[in-house]
């Protein structure tokens, strides 16, 4: 008799255990869905572009340090105010460098500047492909290419 009761109790506990597993799984699914929705909104708000430049160091504060610049497919960098990215720094040439998105990668090319363009600390002498996370330096302004 007690054996029967025990068996029934075990069955109930067992079903409860498996049900609990699925409750946990449903909670996971709920969290995942909520997260995907919020991620979509964040993406719509600020990540629609093909890349951004994060300004790490900028002695003259133009562009201001610790800001990000949304990038179009073609970006000219220089001290001339008509450049897409206007940089106020004595060591930057009027038309300093060109940052372009071609196909699926970013490229940077020096436009014959006096002090050169540096990628990850190396001066470039031809168009160079950039990966996200690479550091770009024009004059004394240090920037990082981000997604």
């Amino acid at each position: 008799m007690t054996g029967d009761i025990l068996r029934i109790l075990l069955l109930i506990l067992q079903l409860g255990f498996v049900a609990l597993l699925y409750v946990i799984l449903l909670r996971f699914a709920g969290t995942l869905l909520r997260d995907l929705r919020s991620a979509e909104q964040v993406q719509l708000a600020s990540r629609s572009g093909i890349g951004r430049l994060s300004v790490l160091e900028s002695p003259e504060n133009e562009p201001p340090a610790d800001t990000t610049i949304a990038l179009g497919p073609i970006n000219s960098i220089g001290r001339n105010v008509n450049n897409t990215i206007y940089v106020e720094d004595d060591f930057v040439s009027t038309n300093h460098a060109m940052l372009t998105f071609r196909g699926r990668s970013w490229f940077v090319e020096d436009q014959g500047s006096t002090n050169g363009t540096y990628v990850n600390g190396h001066r470039i002498d031809r168009p160079v492909a950039l990966s996200f996370g690479d550091e770009l330096m024009v004059g004394r302004v240090r920037m990082r290419l981000d997604r």
């Binding site: 054996g3 025990l6 109790l9 075990l10 069955l11 506990l13 067992q14 079903l15 409860g16 255990f17 498996v18 609990l20 597993l21 699925y22 409750v23 946990i24 799984l25 909670r27 996971f28 699914a29 969290t31 995942l32 997260d35 919020s38 991620a39 964040v42 708000a45 600020s46 990540r47 994060s54 990000t68 196909g103 699926r104 990668s105 492909a129 950039l130 990966s131 996200f132 996370g133 981000d146 997604r147």
Partner: protein, 446 residues
Amino acid sequence: MRITWRGAELRLLLPILAAVPLGFAITNIALTNTLDPGPLQLAIGFVALFGAAHVALVFFGHRGDQLILPAAGAMGGLGLIMLNRLPQDLAGTSAFGIQLGMAETQLLWFAVGLVIMVGVAVGLRDDGVLRHYKYSWAAIGIGLLAATLLLGYEVNGARLWIDLGPVSVQPGEPLKIVLVIFIAAYLAETRTLLTSASVRIGPVHIPPLPYFLPMLVLFGAVMLIVVRLNDLGTALLFFGTFLTMLFVATGRRSYVLIGLLLFIAGAFVAYRLFGHVQDRVDVWWDPFADPLGRGFQPVRALYALGRGGLFGEGLGQGLVTLGTGLTIPYVHTDFIFTAIAEELGLLGAFALLGFAVVFVFRGLRIAALARDDFGALLAVGLTASLGLQTLIIIGGNTKLIPLTGITLPFVSYGGSSVVASFAMIGLLLSISHRSATGSDTGQTSS
């Protein structure tokens, strides 16, 4: 270092921390036939460990992913319930005069793994150490392999173990991590070259060999040694992980196609050359040809799956031991999935797979949100490695593919595997922490 509440993680962990002691209690009631929840130290230990890991992440202000740890906890919990149910003398340690059973030893490894996980997640603020010393990491990997080849000893025809005093280590597990770090760093650096400079023959892109060479040489060497060690599961795992990372880095389907063709060719050659490969494939094709010899293990596993059915036999009520021996040899490592499916049925097995899917999904999401290419590729590699490992061993358990002896991450008994898997979570957490804090998008991963 500011405290950051991790609400989603806590909400997911709480029911898991309730379910695991319930599982222990059911097992004990079924095994003893009395209304007794059994000894409590395992349940307390499990709850305390994962609770402590959560509190530590909150305390250190970690803002990384909140679903990965609960998903791993759920898998680890199911594994621990099953290990506690199996005969405790299958494995264990007896160091410093203390005798520990199999489940207690596994819990000890959880503790070590969680400490390393929190350490990596919190301590690794900058991935430069991983990225810039990629050839050092590769050298460490080669060293690990050489050590296995020279000092290792064989278990079941595969030489995978190194004896280090009180514990034996499987160098293949840390090697997995080191290899993923190297490939991620290499591909992040050469990604653009690999896509832009390929030679095209008709519709097929041929990869530019000079840029590929260092990676191919290293990877080829690793594969050769792994195959030489008879560790076929690991070889398959490495290859799958490598192809996944290559595809993600370059976006070229043809590279994957070439890789798959190479794999088929390699598998065919291996089948012809090595007796043990032939054995595995023959047994997989028809285990009933020799049900008491070579097919013993898979036949018994298939019957166990059949006994489990949809709802399972019930925790503690499966046919784990038969006479003096185990029903399925190596049920605590290679066939833990079968044991879970026998006692919890198809429903329980699907729940386990569901947790693995959540894990992989979140891993790929971490990769998609990563701030730089290296982080993204590293996350993809770690996720692919854990996901493929799950796929390969469960496929082997269910006779979908030939069985290769690798562990089911977080679930199987085994210190090296558990610690390595938790270290990989630590890396994933640190990547997602950086993308949550470093960017100004206001991305909160909750």
